[in-house]
């Protein structure tokens, strides 16, 4: 049996008015690095709280390590690590005190599984006597990860560990996850940053409680249904507004210094040549159009509009 199983989970709040999870099912294999990718309010945290036995679903079954999330919560809690989205350490305890505290809670010591946290802990060890509340965002994140690992969990749940963290710290964090994965720990991680999806083995794209798709990032990208083009011109905003008015364009979104478009009719490849000519005639400088591979963010937008019709 897979170590993480969600079977038709539905969860609502406020007497059914707010739908946090709508018939969600997926499984995570042993040793897998699995990503839940979606914006705030998609329902990621509710799923984490159900799996970590902190919340009961309205409907459906969840199990972790073959144990029932409803009945066997005590054993599950001993065997998993959980890093909640908001910084959950004790702000007025020092780095070392936080580590000792969490180790004691799980009947362990800092030394017992030291090899597991060594690489991460040594980066914050110079600040052993600093209170957690006085650490920088990147260091807090490392301490929280150490605390979640201190009892050598079999499954690690990380809820938005990189939110609000800068690009440099985000890269470092994902390198740490790769190292942990090599030690055989099953990892479920959530993020609102679409670019991080590529670093997971399999991902679920999630929006307003619904799973849009689950697969490897490569297969999700390969399933993009139509050709995608990147268009560029000197004045991006003008390009964007003019493209949106054109009848042959199906979708049009800014992506960095390019605008990504899809066409309504994909049978005629010369359409892009005509588009190019017309826009250059309309006075667009440095115009460029090329066929490109979609990114996960393109796929997310496409699946969103397919599911919600926007």
């Amino acid at each position: 049996m897979n170590p993480v199983v969600l079977d038709h989970i539905t969860k609502t709040y406020e007497n059914g008015k707010v739908l946090a999870a709508s018939d969600v099912s997926f499984e995570v294999a042993s040793g897998e690095l699995f990503g839940l990718i979606g914006p705030d309010g998609a329902g990621k945290t509710s799923l984490f709280r159900i799996l970590t036995t902190l919340l009961l679903p309205d409907k459906g079954n969840a199990s972790v390590l073959g144990l029932d999330c409803n009945k066997d919560f005590e054993e599950i809690r001993r065997r998993i690590g959980y890093m909640p989205g908001r910084f959950s350490l004790y702000q007025d305890l020092t780095v070392k005190e936080n580590l000792d505290f969490f180790a004691t809670l799980f009947g362990s010591t800092l030394e017992e599984n030291y090899s597991l946290i060594k690489d991460i802990y040594e980066q914050i060890k110079p600040f052993n006597n600093r209170r957690a509340g006085k650490l920088s965002g990147g260091m807090k994140q490392k301490l929280a990860l150490c605390c979640a690992l201190i009892h050598k969990p079999e499954v690690l749940f990380l809820d938005e560990p990189t939110t609000g963290v800068d690009v440099v710290s985000r890269k470092e964090f994902w390198d740490m996850l790769k190292t942990l994965k090599q030690q055989g720990i099953t990892i479920v991680v959530s993020t609102p940053y679409m670019d991080e999806a590529m670093l997971c083995e399999r991902i679920a794209l999630i929006q307003t409680g619904k799973i849009l798709t689950i697969d490897t990032p490569g297969k999700i990208i390969a399933a993009f249904p139509v050709p995608l083009y990147a268009v560029k011109a000197k004045d991006t905003y003008r390009l964007l507004t003019e493209l949106r008015k054109r009848s042959e364009i199906a979708s049009c979104f800014a992506f960095g210094d390019y605008v990504h478009i899809t066409l309504k009719d994909n049978s005629n490849e010369s359409q892009t040549d005509q588009l190019k000519q017309e826009l250059i005639q309309a006075g667009h400088e440095q115009f460029e159009i090329k066929r490109i591979e979609p990114t996960i963010e393109d796929s997310f937008i496409q699946l969103m509009s397919q599911t919600y019709g926007r």
Partner: protein, 247 residues
Amino acid sequence: MADKVITCKNLTKKFGDFYAVHNISFDVSQGEIFGFLGANGAGKTTAMRILCGLSYPTSGEASVAGFDVYTQQERIKQNIGYMSQKFSLYENLTVLENITFFGGVYGVPAAQLKERSRQLIAKLGLTNEAKKLVASLPLGWKQKLAFSVAIFHEPKIVFLDEPTGGVDPVTRRQFWDMIYEAAANGITVFVTTHYMDEAEYCDRVTIMVDGKVEALDSPGNLKSRFDVTSMDEVFYRLARNAVRSGD
């Protein structure tokens, strides 16, 4: 040359011996979208607080909307808008109450307030939600409303502190449409973000490292200078050598 709405010369802020902001200089022109980037702890928030009239510099000069950051803080506040991801609207006031509250605070004449509030609500497509609490709106709508409220009094400059954190990819782009529109109407936009694709939408970008401005140019020029294809790489090259880290 367009009017300079922000000028900053050798601006410095020290906390004890610590240089939070160290000798930064730049100008921002009217209608420009100016991206203000930096790793956590680089000094962005401190610099922004000075420019918003919330904190005094230790040394150097700066003026915002033509007003001096040492002597005319109140005039600065009247001429800017501010929105952050963390705080911008009162959750337990309705949509309409938030608009009239902020409009009132920023001195929109009472005679105009009712009609302009109605127009804004219609423009945002929130007519049916006008009397609902802001807390009940989806995050993306809140963010769009917050931006509209921040520019409701037609400020010269709007400061946006990570305005798009956590919103879905479509809403994030709709939000940038609003930024472009505001800039086209002459409002200067000063924005911080952790999304490097959004740095590409800016006319010019500043990257702060350890309290100093390490780069200031258009995204295109920065990419060619570092010979890379994305702003993500530009940022990584500059910020990975940072000594400091903080919130």
